[in-house]
């Protein structure tokens, strides 16, 4: 059943380019809403789906599709965000092609193909039941996003794209070597065929994913890539792609958690430092998209923190991924909205009081930052579980408590500080503009979903499923 649903966006990848831009966009968005229904059903279904695809020789093992609650939860975020960003990309990319003086219809075919390929590969990735299959989709997503940055990015886009390619491939290679070692040890790379993961393999996978996530140090690639990518691509890269690093770690952790448990304290400390460091970096940025990119680093630090905190922490990883996906996609789209409406305006020092000109975008940004800060949105549960995990794991350890609390405070701080810088205060002298409907409505759809997730029936749907998904595997 999963296969059929997942085939829909895959078919759309190849069909959409044959249509005119408007129809192609519609097809893409609809194609992601079909598996969206599946994920909602999967979250409610209370069972695990396994669908074998093909048997391959040792040490690769069976390729199969795995639909458990974790996959459905990640898939849920990927589907809805991809669908909304697909809608959004129509007016945005038209603006971008005009700016680059390309032929719109012709260029949009290329774009929508790569875009759909990129999003679909991420969706397949979270349903892959085999590390090699997972790696293949990881690679497809990297290549397609690389091409998108290379072809339509801003600034020094070829250099940035190469940089992105190199960094993510270092990450990918390390993880691949780790996977292969695991495969040779266990004779299979199917999730259900792996019994244990050795030190070297765990270390390589972990390092690879920390580069991808990214943690402090390797984080330096992210602001370049996310800031210079065309905004619809940023709105997938940042909310969805980097978080898949956390997904892979979580999967490996579910199979054999010893590494994280052994090195819990250093990883926790590293996560806190990454998160706080990037949080402070946010305050200093003057480029809206770069600012958001640093905030991504800070938010991904949450995932590193959470993974150390036992089963509630693991649940928090999933919720954090979802809430960050919602929040950050909204925020990147607000940045893009201002870029599209005001011809490349990204410099925050030239903004101020923008609520006057673009109130709908400003209000969406508020919902976006509420998601990041965990205010009245699904992120609230993420924070709640992380805090509970801190007590479960460290007891009343004052430094651990205060550092986590501090990181959370910092997220709220930079969120509302940025809002004040960009949207409030004395308005600058810009003409009031009409924002195309597709540049703001998708943001609100995501925003409303993120708020509805704190209330029944969505809250119990998600949280019960995650509890089942995590509780079933981790001892």
């Amino acid at each position: 059943m999963i296969l059929e649903f997942l085939l829909v966006p895959l078919i759309a990848v190849f069909i959409a380019p044959f249509f005119r831009p408007k129809a192609a966009t519609g097809i893409s968005a609809a194609a992601f809403l079909v598996p969206f229904v599946l994920t909602v059903y999967g979250l409610a279904a209370n069972r695990v789906f396994e669908e074998p695809l093909i048997d391959i020789v040792k040490p690769v093992g069976t390729f199969y599709l795995l639909g458990d609650q974790i996959s459905f939860a990640f898939g849920f975020a990927i589907c809805i965000v991809s669908a909304m960003v697909a809608l959004y990309s129509l007016p945005y990319m038209v603006h971008r092609f005009e700016e680059m003086s390309y032929d719109i219809e012709h260029e949009y075919r290329r774009f929508i193909f790569l875009f759909n390929l990129y999003a679909t590969s991420m969706l397949w990735l979270v349903f892959s039941g085999n590390f090699i299959l997972l790696y293949i989709f990881l690679e497809i997503s990297l290549l397609s996003s690389f091409l998108l940055i290379y072809m339509y990015g801003y600034g020094n886009r070829r250099w940035v794209a190469t940089l992105y390619f190199v960094w993510t491939h270092i990450a990918g290679m390390l993880a691949l070597i780790g996977f292969l070692i695991t495969g040779f040890d266990n004779g299979s790379l199917a999730f259900n065929g792996i019994a244990k993961i050795g030190f070297a393999a765990w270390l390589l996978i972990f390092l690879g994913m920390v580069i991808k996530l990214p943690g402090l140090g390797p984080h330096i690639w992210l602001p370049w890539a996310h800031a210079e990518a065309p905004t619809p691509v940023s709105a997938l890269l940042s909310p969805l792609t980097v978080g898949l690093g956390a997904y892979v770690i979580l999967r490996v952790y579910q199979i054999d958690p010893w590494f994280i448990k052994e090195y819990m304290v250093p990883i926790f400390v590293y996560g806190v430092i990454s998160s706080a460091y990037a949080g402070f970096a946010v305050l200093k940025q003057n480029d809206y998209k770069r600012l958001l990119a640093y905030s991504t680093v800070s938010q991904m630090g949450y995932c590193l923190i959470a993974i150390c905190l036992g089963s509630y922490g693991a649940m928090a990883v999933v919720i954090q991924y979802i809430s960050h996906a919602f929040g950050k996609s909204i925020l990147f789209m607000t940045a893009g909205g201002i870029i599209a409406v005001y011809h490349g305006l990204r410099d925050i020092t030239k903004m101020g009081g923008m609520h006057e000109q673009v109130p709908t975008i400003s209000n969406a940004a508020l919902i976006g930052f509420m998601n990041l800060g965990g205010v009245l949105t699904v992120g609230m549960f993420g924070e709640f579980f992380i805090l509970k995990g801190v007590v479960d794991t460290f007891g009343f350890n004052i430094p651990a408590i205060l550092s986590v609390v501090f990181v959370f405070i910092l997220s709220g701080f930079y969120g509302f500080y940025t809002l004040k810088r960009i949207y409030y205060g004395t308005p600058k002298d810009y003409k009031k503009a009409r924002v195309p409907r597709l540049l703001d409505t998708p943001l609100y759809i995501i925003g409303v979903i993120s708020i509805l997730f704190i209330l029944p029936p969505l809250a119990p749907l998600l949280l019960n499923a995650i509890k089942l998904g995590i509780g079933g595997v981790i001892p």
Binding site: Y277, L376, E383, L455, P460
Partner: protein, 635 residues
């Protein structure tokens, strides 16, 4: 009935505010859109009716709606003495201020935003009030913070000096001593987030340790026993960070002063009557069920209550002193609000020694204060409208033109400061009695602080009354024939008379006890002192010989330095270091390593230039190497 009524209590105001919110996005400023404000107020009215229905007909008890049963977390509503009265109070005040706002906010440029957040605030506040579950309480709590931020920064354009706080252009050292609305909003939310997150942790810790979040069901004694002295103190202090920041206790008081950049209706509802009182309310609710008076064998609990007692009373004294120095109408009231909140904390904390009655005294003071202070704010708003000046000004001629406002001010101040035999006198007598009683355990310091606060507080409010209606500076009056505004504050102030009736007749079983305490001679002496302070404040609202001290006080004893200089300063230093670190890593990864590779590659390639002499040199070099190595080997 219950299953429809309770969700409706929270949903109705929010739903009713959505039409105007959406309409304003489509066509801001349209006449038909402005009319939708009435629908918003109707939403508040529904809440009011339900809250009153709960007050008069519901049995004490709890009501559960499933939320996350798998986690043992549900929407649990509790109906007890505190919540029934507090809910009704919130409903009445929100509705009256809503009515007032119809006139006050007429012609505003951002009505959709205003009504949405105003109504969302009311719903959040009611959620906090009736909540027995801590996570549900936190949802309301965050809603309060968000609504407060939205409404303080309502006039986000910062273009009207009338919405500022402080004297525009004034500087003290490196600091601007004036704050526009966008700054006020930022200061509020940043302070509140600082408190909310530790509180959130405490809630999560309670969940982790006990597996439940229902305040009335947790076995608090067992919990404190389990985590011991250090754990108890840590848990309670982290929890209290939430109430302390929300209720603007020291050192988190600054945001409340600059919260006055919001519309006056907001100051009246959020920043005096309800939201800031939510902090003290939560403390009372927790204490009600923790029953600290039964936990004298737990060492940590006493420390916590002493801590709260002194934070509260010191903040109270600070607030009252600052209020005496203020010239801005609303800031004066804000400082006195902070003072009152401090008294509530102090008195409720005394419950550790005195028992449940101390909480009831604090709660009754909360009610009295809410009605009186909301009235004063509404009058201040009317005055600001009428004189276009946020600094106190006015004389008897003005008082004659605005009779209702003058009368309401006199009643509200006299009833609030504790002049016998009016409402607050009886409640304050209860407070005197409570704090006096605990002198055996904690010494005379609390009582001294309380009496000093009462005197200064009385003088400050007398100053407010006098400077606006009797002896204030000159003014220009522009009355527009307002009807709803006087109606709202006249109704509000009449509630104080209702309370007085309740106390004197003893129809309300708790209030009846206050009368006994009012007849104690020491209470009466304090009452006389308060009266004297009021008379002096009225007669001499400003003393020019003390102008230096007054400036120090109206600069809030230089507390703005904490919010605007010290904390951001530290933040910017770290951010600067982080910026350096980023540049260094960026240079190393994206310039250093590539250029090192470039150089390495160039030096390798430099061998292959095509000249014979180079290859000869290399060959010779190898020959030499072979000779040397073989020579060494042979040797």
């Amino acid at each position: 009935m219950m299953e429809y009524e309770i969700p409706l209590l929270f949903i109705a105001p929010v739903i009713c505010s959505l039409p105007i919110a959406f309409a304003w996005v489509r066509s801001p400023g349209a006449k038909w859109a402005e009319k939708l404000a009435y629908l918003s107020v109707f939403g508040l009215f529904i809440s009011l009716v339900i809250a009153l229905h709960i007050l008069f007909t519901y049995q004490e008890g709890r009501y559960t709606i499933q939320w996350l049963p798998e986690y043992n977390i549900n929407f649990v509503f509790i109906f007890d003495y505190l919540s029934k009265y507090m809910g009704a109070l919130t409903g009445i005040i929100a509705f009256l201020i809503g009515v007032y706002g119809l006139e006050y906010m007429k012609g505003d440029y951002r009505l959709g935003w205003y009504w949405f957040f105003f109504n969302m605030f009311t719903a959040s506040m009611l959620l906090v009030v009736y909540s027995d579950n801590l996570l549900m309480l936190l949802i309301g709590w965050e809603g309060l913070g968000l609504a407060s931020w939205g409404l303080i920064g309502h006039w986000f354009r910062d273009d009207d000096e009338i919405s500022y706080v402080g004297t525009v252009g004034r500087k003290v050292g490196p600091l601007n001593m004036f704050w526009p609305p966008s700054m006020g909003g930022w200061r509020a939310i940043s302070t509140i987030r600082t408190g909310d997150m530790p509180m959130f942790f405490a809630v999560a810790a309670i969940y982790a340790l006990t597996g439940t979040l229902d305040i009335s069901q947790i076995h608090w004694g067992g919990l404190f026993h389990m985590i011991g002295y250090g754990g108890t103190v840590l848990l309670c202090v982290l929890f209290l960070m939430g109430p302390f920041t929300k209720s603007a206790q020291l050192p988190f008081s600054e945001w409340l002063m600059t919260a006055m950049t919001g519309p006056t209706t907001v100051s009246a509802l959020l920043h005096s009557a309800t939201m800031v009182a939510a902090g003290t309310y939560v403390f009372m609710r927790m204490s009600w069920y923790i029953q600290p008076w039964n936990l004298h064998s737990m060492p940590g609990v006493e420390v916590v209550y002493i801590f709260v007692l002194f934070v509260g009373l010191i903040s109270a004294l600070y607030g009252a002193s600052v209020a005496t120095g203020c010239r801005e109408r609303k800031v004066l009231l804000a400082a006195s609000t902070m003072s009152s909140l401090g008294l509530m904390f102090g008195c409720a904390a005394a419950s550790y020694w005195f028992g449940k009655f101390a909480i009831l005294v604090a709660f009754w003071y909360l009610i009295t204060h809410a009605f009186a202070k909301a009235t004063l704010f509404l009058v201040a708003g009317h005055l600001i409208h009428a004189t276009h000046d946020r600094f106190s000004c006015g004389d008897l001629a003005l008082a004659k033109r605005m009779k209702v406002a003058f009368a309401a001010t006199i009643v509200a101040t006299v009833f609030l400061v504790g002049i016998p035999p009016f409402t607050a006198y009886w409640v304050k007598s209860g407070m005197d009695e409570v704090i006096h009683h605990i002198a055996h355990e904690v010494g005379m310091a609390p009582l001294t602080l309380l009496i000093l606060t009462s005197l200064l507080y009385s003088a400050a409010l007398a100053k407010f009354m006098s400077q606006n209606f009797i002896k204030g500076p000159g003014y220009h009056l522009h009355l527009h024939g307002e009807k709803l505004m006087p109606l709202a504050y006249a109704t509000m102030v009449s509630m104080l008379v209702v309370l007085l009736y309740e106390i004197l007749t003893g129809t309300e079983h708790v209030a009846g006890h206050f009368v006994e305490m009012g007849y104690v001679s020491s209470s009466f002496i304090v009452g006389l002192g308060v009266t004297a302070a009021y008379v002096i404040g009225t007669y001499k609202p400003s003393i020019s010989a003390l102008s230096k001290l007054g400036t120090f006080l109206s600069d809030r004893m230089e507390m703005p330095f904490l919010n605007d200089y010290i904390v951001p300063g530290v933040g910017w230093v770290i951010a600067w270091l982080v910026g350096l670190g980023n540049s260094a890593i960026d240079w190393f990864c994206h310039r250093g390593i590539p250029s090192a590779f470039n150089r390495f590659s160039r030096s390798i390639r430099s061998i292959q230039v095509g000249y014979l002499r180079v290859y000869l040199k290399i060959a010779l070099g190898f020959v030499m190497l072979v000779i040397v190595v073989s020579a060494m080997g042979w040797w």
